[in-house]
C-alpha cells in the first residue's frame, strides 16, 4: 500500500491506491471470456443485413450439417421459451407505445443487426462458420433513418402501432409564465442542435456464459453486465424461471458506461438454450457485432429557446426534443432523454420552464443509457445556447454566466422544473477555473492572433454544469413511472477473527468500489483498510442490490455501507459495555477499541467484541449472536455535482482540424472519499465528452446501414489526440447523505462536450461561424468556415 499508517478518522480523503489493481495488472482477473468451463457450447447469432425487412423463410439445414454444430434455431422455434417479451422498465407515459420485442425476430427485422437465428457449436470458430451457412430470405422494406422523417409516419415501422411515435412527455409546470416571458423578452435565442448517436465502446465487449445445474432446475448466468441484480429479476420474468433458482454473476467487467445497463437478447438466448439443451452456453460479442447489437447513446434533435431581458438575464427556457428510440425500447430507452428533462436551464436561476420530448422509432439499433444519460444532452444545449445569448447581448461568455447563476445563498434551490438542488457554489468553481486557465491572457492572445493574418484560430470554451445523480429516491422514481426503486443495500460483518466483510449491492466495473467501501468501513470501525474485504456482483453472495449506473454507487451504496458500519458499532458498544460492566455512555471508541472513559487501561478492541459476539457465551440478555448489520438506504434526494470546465482549442482554418490544446476542469462532488479515484473518473469522463464533440459518431447511410462498426471508422480517441488535463476541485458537501458526497462518474462527460464545442465556435466566431454540429470533424469545420467566408450563412450542418 502506498499509505501505510492509518488510524481512526483519517482514512477518508486519502489518495489510496486501489486494492482491485494487482489482479488486473497481472492478468489474473477473470472476465467472462476468461472463465473456462468444459462442455460449453458456443453460440453464434445470425443478424439481419437489412434495416427493415419481412422474414420470408429461414433455412437452417446447411448450418445444421456443418462440422461441430449441435443445434440451430429460428425465432419461431424459440417463441415458446419466452414468458414475456424483452423488458422495458420505464413506461414513461400511460399511453407509451412499445412494440413486442423478442430475443430473436420472428416475422420482421427492424434494424441491421436484429437477431434472426442462433447456431450452437463445439467451438467459437465452428459456430461462426455455421452462422455463414444459415440462409434467410428477406423481403426488404423501406428504412427509416432520419428522425423527422420517422416522426412524419411516412413509413410506419411497427404496423401494429400505426405510428412511429412512442410517446410525448411534457414537463410544463407553468406554461403561461413561459409564454409571458417570451412575449416580453428583450432577447430571444432559438437554437437547434443535433446529438449524434454514440457507441459506448467499453473495451471489454459483452459476453455471457449460461450454466444449467443438474436436477435442481437452477441456473447461473455469468455476464459482462453492470446490473446483475436487476438482470436476475428480469431473467426470471422473461424466461418464466423462478427468480429463486437464478444466480447472476458479473465477474471482472471491462467498463460499461451505460451499455451494460441492460437486459440483452443474448443473455436471454443463452439462458433459454441452456435450459433447452442442458449444457453451458457461451457467447462472446465481436467488436463489429457489438456496434450493431449493443445499445447506442444520445441520438436526438434539440430545439432550445431562451427568453432574456435586456441585460441578458434569462427569464424562461423552452425545450422541445425529438429523441431517437431506435427500433425497439430496451430496458430504460424511453426514460433517458427525460433524465435530462429537468436540467435544460442548467446552473441558471430561471423562473419559467417548459420541456417536451417526443420519442420516435427508427430502423436503427435501440438507444439507451450512455454515460450521463440525458444530462450531457441537456447541458450541451443550455451551455451552447448561453454562448449564443452572450453573442446576442454582446457580453463575454463569463459575464453572461455570472449574471444568471443560481446564487450560492439560494441553496437548497427549488427549480422551476420541480427539483430541489442540494447545494452549490457555481461562481466559486468558475473563479478557480478562470484563474487556472489564465483567462484574460488567453483572450489577449486570441485578439493578437485575430489581428494578425494567422490561420490558426484560438478558441476558449466555457461550460458550467450541474447534474442530478445518485439514482434515486424511490418515491421520485414512482412519480416518473419507473418500475423499480432507487435504494441500495449493504451488510457489514465483523468476522470472529476481527476481519471485516462488506457485502454491497453495487456492481463495479472499473469504479474501484472495493477500495472506496473499504475506506468507509476502515474510517468508521477503525480497522485496517487491508482487513476489509468487499463482496459484490454475485447474487448468491449479495442478494439485494440495485447495481451501478447513474453515478449512484457512492452516494447511495457507499452511504448504506457507512450506515451499516454505524449499526455494527452500536451493537459492538452494547457488547463491550456488558463485558466491561459499564454503561454504554461510559465508553469511548477510538482507534478500533472501546475504552472506559477515564480508565483507558480498561478497554476492548473491536476484534475481541466480534469474538464474544461469535461465541455468544456472555452477551446481554436477548441480544442475537454475531456482529453484523444490514442497511438498505433510500436517498431523500438526488445529489447535484457541479463545476466549470474550460477548453482551449486551436482551429486550423486551412484544414478544419481542431486541436485540443488545454483542458481545465474544476469539479465539485462534495466530500471526496478518495481523490485519486475521483480525478480518474473525471478524466475519463472528460475524454469521452470531448470525443463526442470532436470525433465520435455512429454514421448510418440512407438504407440504415451502420458505417462505423470498427475502431478504424468509429473514432474513439487514443492518447495521441488528447492533452493532459488540469484538474482542480472545490468542496461543497451534499446535505442529503451523512458522507456529504455527490456522484462523480458522469460529471466529466457532462461538462466537457459543451466546453469543447463552445471553444470551437469561439475560435471561429469572428469569421461568422455560430452554429456547428458534432463531431467537429475537419470536413465539417472546413465547410462551416467556407460557408461563413462566402457569406452563405453559418449553419455548417451537413
Amino acid at each position: 500500500m502506498t499509505v501505510t499508517e492509518q488510524s481512526t478518522n483519517t482514512v477518508l480523503g486519502q489518495r489510496l491506491v486501489r486494492k482491485e489493481d494487482p489482479a488486473l495488472l497481472s492478468g489474473e482477473a477473470q472476465f467472462v471470456h476468461d472463465i473456462q468451463l468444459p462442455g460449453a457450447l458456443y453460440m453464434a447469432i445470425v443478424r439481419s443485413p437489412y434495416a427493415h425487412a419481412r422474414i420470408r423463410s429461414i433455412d437452417l439445414s446447411r448450418a445444421l450439417a456443418s462440422p461441430g454444430v449441435v443445434a440451430a434455431f429460428t425465432g419461431s422455434d424459440l417463441q415458446g421459451e419466452w414468458a414475456q417479451p424483452m423488458p422495458c422498465a420505464w413506461p414513461v407515459t400511460k399511453d407509451m407505445r412499445n412494440p413486442a420485442h423478442y430475443p430473436l425476430a420472428v416475422d420482421q427485422v427492424c434494424y441491421v443487426g436484429d437477431a434472426v437465428a442462433v447456431v450452437l457449436a463445439t467451438s467459437n470458430a465452428l459456430a461462426q462458420d455455421a452462422r455463414e451457412a444459415v440462409e434467410v430470405d428477406y423481403e426488404e422494406l423501406e428504412a427509416v433513418v432520419d428522425l423527422e422523417d420517422a416522426a412524419s409516419d411516412r413509413v410506419v415501422i411497427h404496423p401494429e402501432l400505426s405510428t412511429n411515435i412512442s410517446y410525448v412527455w411534457e414537463l410544463s409546470p407553468d406554461k403561461e409564465a413561459v409564454d409571458r416571458a417570451f412575449s416580453s423578452a428583450a432577447h430571444i435565442v432559438s437554437e437547434r442542435y443535433v446529438q449524434q448517436r454514440l457507441i459506448a465502446s467499453a473495451m471489454e465487449p459483452r459476453g455471457v456464459l449460461a450454466v444449467p445445474h443438474p436436477f435442481g432446475g437452477e441456473y447461473t448466468l455469468y455476464s459482462a453486465t453492470q446490473i446483475p441484480h436487476i438482470l436476475r429479476v428480469m431473467l426470471g420474468v422473461t424466461l418464466g424461471i423462478p427468480e429463486s433458482k437464478l444466480r447472476v454473476v458479473a465477474p471482472a467487467v471491462g467498463g460499461g458506461f451505460g451499455s451494460k445497463l441492460n437486459v440483452y437478447a443474448e443473455e436471454l438466448l443463452a439462458m433459454a438454450l441452456a435450459r433447452r439443451i442442458r449444457r453451458p452456453i457461451r457467447w462472446h460479442e465481436e467488436r463489429s457485432e457489438g456496434a450493431l447489437s449493443t445499445v447506442q447513446g444520445r441520438g436526438m434533435i434539440q430545439n432550445i429557446e431562451l427568453a432574456a431581458d435586456a441585460d441578458g438575464k434569462v427569464t424562461a427556457v423552452r425545450v422541445s426534443l425529438l429523441a431517437d428510440m431506435g427500433a425497439y425500447l430496451q430496458l430504460v430507452t424511453p426514460g433517458v432523454p427525460l433524465l435530462g428533462g429537468f436540467l435544460y436551464h442548467g446552473v441558471y436561476d430561471v423562473p419559467a420552464y417548459s420541456f417536451k420530448c417526443t420519442g420516435v422509432f427508427t430502423t436503427k439499433t435501440p438507444t439507451d443509457a450512455y454515460r450521463g444519460a440525458g444530462r450531457p444532452e441537456a447541458t450541451y444545449a443550455i451551455e451552447r445556447a448561453m454562448d449564443a445569448l452572450a453573442r446576442k447581448v454582446g457580453v463575454d461568455p463569463v459575464e453572461i454566466r455570472r449574471r444568471n447563476y443560481i446564487p450560492s445563498d439560494k441553496f437548497p434551490y427549488s427549480s422551476a422544473a420541480g427539483l430541489v438542488f442540494d447545494s452549490g457554489n457555481y461562481s466559486n468553481a468558475l473563479d478557480k477555473a478562470l484563474s487556472l486557465v489564465g483567462y484574460d491572457e488567453l483572450r489577449a492572445e486570441q485578439a493578437r492572433r485575430r489581428s494578425s493574418s494567422s490561420t490558426k484560430h484560438l478558441g476558449i470554451g466555457i461550460s458550467s454544469y450541474v447534474e442530478m445523480c445518485g439514482l434515486a429516491p424511490s418515491r421520485v422514481l414512482a412519480s416518473l413511472d419507473y418500475s423499480a426503486g432507487g435504494w441500495e443495500s449493504a451488510t457489514v460483518r465483523v468476522l470472529p477473527t476481527g476481519k471485516v466483510q462488506v457485502v454491497t449491492g453495487t456492481s463495479p466495473h472499473g469504479q474501484g468500489h472495493e477500495t472506496s467501501w473499504s475506506m468507509i468501513v476502515a474510517e468508521k470501525l477503525g480497522v485496517s483498510f487491508d482487513d476489509v474485504e468487499v463482496l459484490h456482483s454475485d447474487t448468491a453472495v449479495s442478494p439485494n442490490g440495485m447495481d451501478t449506473y447513474g453515478s449512484r454507487s457512492l452516494s447511495v451504496g457507499g452511504t448504506a455501507v457507512w450506515l451499516a458500519s454505524e449499526r455494527v458499532l452500536d451493537k459492538a458498544r452494547a457488547i463491550a459495555a456488558h463485558q466491561l460492566e459499564v454503561a454504554e455512555e461510559d465508553l469511548e471508541f477510538k482507534d478500533g477499541s472501546f475504552a472506559v472513559r477515564g480508565t483507558p487501561d480498561r478497554s476492548m478492541p473491536l476484534a475481541a467484541v466480534a469474538f464474544e459476539a461469535f461465541t455468544a457465551h456472555n452477551l446481554p440478555d436477548g441480544m442475537e449472536p454475531t456482529l453484523e448489520a444490514s442497511v438498505t438506504w433510500d436517498p431523500p434526494n438526488f445529489t447535484f455535482p457541479f463545476g466549470t470546465h474550460i477548453a482551449v482549442v486551436e482551429v486550423d482554418e486551412e484544414t478544419g482540424k481542431v486541436q485540443l490544446l488545454r483542458y481545465i476542469a474544476v469539479d465539485d462532488c462534495g466530500n471526496q472519499i478518495n481523490p485519486l479515484i475521483v480525478e480518474g473518473q473525471l478524466e475519463g469522463g472528460i475524454a469521452q465528452g470531448a470525443a463526442q464533440a470532436l470525433w465520435e459518431e455512429a454514421v448510418y447511410d440512407d438504407r440504415g446501414n451502420l458505417l462505423t462498426t470498427t475502431f478504424a471508422d468509429y473514432l474513439v480517441p487514443s492518447a495521441a489526440e488528447l492533452p493532459s488535463m488540469e484538474m482542480a476541485s472545490t468542496v461543497t458537501p451534499s446535505p442529503t447523505n451523512p458522507l456529504g458526497v455527490k456522484g462523480v462518474g458522469e460529471a466529466g462527460t457532462i461538462g466537457s462536450t459543451p466546453a469543447v464545442m463552445n471553444a470551437v465556435v469561439d475560435a471561429l466566431s469572428h469569421i461568422g461561424v455560430s452554429n456547428l454540429d458534432m463531431p467537429a470533424s475537419p470536413q465539417r469545420v472546413w465547410q462551416a468556415i467556407a460557408a461563413a467566408r462566402s457569406g452563405s450563412g453559418s449553419e455548417g450542418r451537413m
Binding site: T2, V17, R18, E20, D21, P22, A23, L24, L25, S26, G27, E28, A29, Q30, F31, H33, D34, Q36, A125, S201, A202, M203, E204, P205, A252, V253, G254, G255, F257, H284, E286, R287, S288, H509, G510, Q511, G512, L676, I677, E679, G680, Q681, E683, G684, G685, I686, A687, Q688, T710, F711, A712, V716, S718, A719, A720, L722, S724, M725, G748
Partner: protein, 162 residues
C-alpha cells in the same frame, strides 16, 4: 500444423489449425487469459504481447507465425515471487487503470516503448501508445504511469551499472 513457441520462458509444442490467431492460441490452448481481445480489426491493442522483444498485436499474428519465437504476455511480467514489474507498479501507483481490460496490452506496449526509448517525453509517450485504446482513464494517468515507470527503470539501470 505444429507450433513450437517459448511463452514466458517455457517451451510449448502444440498442434493448431492454420487459421488460429496467436491470441486464441495463448488464451484457448495455453490458458493464458490475461491477454484480452477488444476488437476484431487490430485497432484497440488490448491483445498486445511481446514477440522476440517487440510489441505485436497478437490478433494480427497467426500462431504458426510465432513458431520458434519467444513470447512474453502479461503473466510473464511479474517476478516469480509475485512482485510486480516496475511498469505494473507504476500503473498501480498512478491509478493508470480503472476497469483494467486494456491494461495488459497497455503494459506490454509500454514495455516495448520504453525499450526503444527509455526517456520518452510526454508527447512521445502519447504517440507511442497511439495503437492502444483505453475508454476509462482519458489516458491522463496512463501517461503519468509510463513516465513514472521510465524514471524508476532508469534508476534501476543506473543502480545495476554502478
Amino acid at each position: 500444423m505444429r507450433v513450437s513457441v517459448k511463452v514466458n520462458g517455457r517451451l510449448y509444442e502444440n498442434e493448431v489449425e492454420g487459421r488460429t490467431l496467436l491470441v486464441h492460441y495463448l488464451r484457448g490452448v495455453l490458458g493464458l487469459t490475461g491477454t484480452n481481445i477488444g476488437c476484431d480489426t487490430s485497432s484497440c491493442g488490448a491483445c498486445t504481447v511481446l514477440m522476440d522483444g517487440e510489441s505485436v498485436k497478437s490478433c494480427t499474428v497467426l500462431a504458426v507465425q510465432a513458431d520458434g519465437a519467444e513470447i512474453t504476455t502479461i503473466e510473464g511480467m511479474a517476478q516469480p515471487d509475485g512482485s510486480l514489474h516496475p511498469i505494473q507498479k507504476a500503473f498501480w501507483d498512478n491509478h493508470g487503470l480503472q476497469c483494467g481490460y486494456c491494461t495488459p496490452g497497455m503494459v506490454m506496449a509500454t514495455a516495448s516503448l520504453l525499450k526503444e526509448n527509455p526517456h520518452p517525453s510526454e508527447e512521445e509517450v502519447r504517440m507511442g501508445l497511439e495503437g492502444n485504446l483505453c475508454r476509462c482513464t482519458g489516458y491522463h494517468n496512463i501517461v503519468k504511469s509510463v513516465l513514472a515507470a521510465a524514471a524508476t527503470m532508469d534508476g534501476q539501470t543506473e543502480a545495476v551499472r554502478s
